[in-house]
Amino acid sequence: MTNAVAKVEPLHFPHRHLLTVEGLGAQEINFLLDLADSNADANRQVGNRRDVLRGRMLINLFFENSTRTQASFEMAAKRLGADVMNMNVSTSSVSKGETLIDTAVTLNAMRPDMIVVRHHSAGAVELLAQKVDCSVINAGDGSHQHPTQALLDALTIRRAKGRVGGLTVAICGDILHSRVARSNIMLLNALGARVRIAAPSTLLPPAPERMGAEVFTDMWKAVEGADVVMMLRLQRERMEGSYVPSTREYFHFFGLDHEKLARAKPDAIVMHPGPMNRGVEIASTVADHSSSVIREQVEMGVAVRMAVLEALARNLAKR
């Protein structure tokens, strides 16, 4: 890093919520990534707890089960000194028939500072955000968006490759149902990467080329010369004859094994948002190979979420 050029990057992230990566500019994204990058280094030190969020209350509101994302947000918030409350659908009033808006209004009345929301319906998080006074962070809404995943993926790539712009990233798997794919395609495009997507036609949305990616139904061609191969999780209920005939056939044509990976650049990295189906979308030996940065992705997840929480907290009214 040189300091010759005066930085024109924003010194803050001028948003109340993080609902989507759509519309985020490269400067804003890099601001978050730079912050997260220093968090990642700091997190490796002993005594890394800070207190920028001391006195702040964060609610983890998960309408869809998630272990890792919820834990990642919780750890990020606690490292910054926030108080965290985890709310699970199964134990909340939602299962008693309360509407999403009623839940939002009720929670808002308790005056939290931030709500992290995951919901199975696209657009649900945005709907909730309209009804509360605090910051809302989208932790995944249906097949729509998962902004912090795209940010942590970008940070992982940037740390492994030194840059994101100009790289060729092949995103392979269930594009149709993937919020990870949608978020990543947008964010990587904003950072100047060349994005490819690969899937059987049954797992591609209509007019996939309009998403800003080069489309392949042959994964061998999609990974040819790629710097990054990003695999997506295939939901179990989509494996047995509805969208793809079988896990065997899927693995044969769309699973990342060493043969397909050999088509990518020799120093290509392998990514997966987790949890993995070993032997379905990725061979075990590839997942555990030195080219795999899947564990780093998890580590960067905490760092990126800390950055997001910190950036949004700066915009919160002082109490």
């Binding site: 036609s201 049954t202 004859g241 005939p245 056939e249």
Partner: protein, 446 residues
């Protein structure tokens, strides 16, 4: 990738490689080259070494000579819809008996359907058919694989792996995929692999319980009818799905004038749509059922003579691409039942060519058109290199007399089942010799 090679009879290489056979004094009819002229043909090493008018009388040195006496020398027929009973119903037909029936009918390539027990819906079963055919069959055998698991119309099969294993196309047998979403996914997914999706078009709800074509005759016979709209409705749905997915689609056997209109319109819109017709629907009609003759009970049912004439016109215009025998061996016991309870199906391999020649003799179609739909068109549809009399092509050849009169006797049929609607019919035209990869696999002995 030569995926289907294991089912293909290889040219004999050993001692026979030194010898060649010349077929002189023939009428060469090859629709692929639009050729119909006096001439001859030389077979060497299982391949066609030479063909043309210059071989009418003179042959190269040191070859066996066969005088064709002016009879027709044509490419061996390719039959894209053959049901056998192997595996599971071997008492009806095996690959071996079907191949002998085919050879006697001048059919050098058969495509067998996946509607067996077990259903051909897995790679290992495609492999089984190929190995059994290699060891027992005397003509080329290719297999269609099921497009849905167990032909249930619910979950698609491993189309990619099945195609790689050698499945030549994908079929749902004699049942339509009623679930539109499943059919759309099959077409969409199959497109990625260049798979040919062959579909029987009959709305199962509308057609259920029908025993014959709905109309005056069914009414008179007191039989439940299947309206021809049940075919057209399914076909129209499929064409919309092809428009949506651009999957490669072939309607297995159409039978009504309205269905022909749908095909013609689809082709006019440049959709990847083709269709076939069974020989039965070109040469028979519902009147033939007469007094409840169950050998005329087939699927789709025989239609009116107007529909039959429309099929012939469709063939002449090129809107219908191929003719199939729809050879479907059934037990005598399953046929000797009250009409509505009898099983559907008719054998047809051995009568395919003479029945097709009826259209030529009646003046409804030129010989070239008849043969085109039985040779080069199915070859193109299925991606085969046979079906033509070209230099260097595999020597799948038939010699036939287009005029010789004879009467079908079901007991003389080589098929293990004898359910022929043409039993005791007068035919004009008979196969004299059938060569598969240069080897004579059938020769007529008067």
């Amino acid at each position: 990738m030569n995926a289907t090679s294991s089912t293909t009879k290889r040219p004999a290489r050993e001692s026979k490689s030194a010898t060649a056979t010349a077929f002189l004094n023939a009428r060469i009819v090859d629709p692929a080259a639009n050729r119909d002229e006096p001439g001859g043909l030389v077979v060497r090493d299982g391949l066609i070494a030479d063909v043309g008018p210059h071989l009418r009388r003179n042959s190269p040195e040191g070859v066996n000579v066969i005088d064709c006496k002016g009879r027709v020398l044509a490419p061996g027929l390719i039959d894209a819809q053959v049901f056998t009973g192997e595996p599971g119903f071997e008492h009806r037909e095996t690959l071996k008996t079907a191949s002998h029936a085919a050879a006697a009918g001048g059919v050098t390539t058969i495509v067998v359907m996946p509607e067996t027990n077990p259903v051909i819906d897995q790679v290992a079963l495609v492999d089984f058919i190929q190995r059994r055919a290699r060891d027992n069959a005397i003509v080329h055998v290719h297999t269609m694989a099921a497009m849905t698991k167990g032909l249930k119309g619910e979950e698609m099969t491993e189309i990619g792996l099945l195609k790689r294993a050698g499945a030549i196309a994908f079929s749902n047998g004699k049942t339509s995929v009623a679930n539109t979403r499943v059919m759309r996914n099959v077409l969409l997914y199959g497109r990625d692999f260049g798979a040919l999706i062959v579909h029987h078009t009959e709305d199962p709800y509308l057609a259920s319980s029908g025993a014959m074509n709905s109309g005056e005759i069914a009414a008179r016979l007191g039989l439940p009818g299947t309206h021809k709209a049940s075919e057209t409705i399914m076909l129209e749905r499929d064409v919309r799905l092809v428009e949506m997915t651009r999957g490669r689609y072939h309607a297995a056997t159409i039978s009504s004038a309205e269905s022909l209109d749908v095909i013609r319109a689809a082709k006019a819109r440049n959709l990847p749509v083709t269709c076939g017709v069974s020989i039965n629907h070109l040469t028979l009609n519902e009147n033939d059922i007469g007094p409840y003759r169950t050998f005329f009970k087939i699927r789709p049912p025989l239609r009116s003579d107007e529909d039959r004439a429309a099929m012939v016109r469709g063939l002449a215009a090129g809107d219908i691409d191929i003719i199939v025998s729809s050879h479907d061996p059934q037990d005598a016991d399953d046929k000797r039942r009250p009409f509505a309870e009898a099983t559907d199906g008719a054998v047809g391999l051995e009568t395919l060519l003479p029945a097709a020649l009826r259209l030529y003799h009646s003046g409804e179609l030129p010989l070239m058109s008849v043969l085109r739909a039985l040779t080069i068109n199915p070859a193109k549809l299925l991606g085969l290199h046979s079906g033509r009399l070209a230099k260097g092509a595999v020597a799948d050849i038939i010699l036939f007399d287009p005029d010789e009169p004879w009467v079908v006797n079901k007991d003389m049929l080589r098929s293990r089942s004898k359910n022929s609607p043409f039993d005791e019919s007068k035919m004009q035209g008979r196969v004299l010799r059938t060569l598969v990869a240069g080897e004579t696999v059938y020769q007529y002995a008067p």
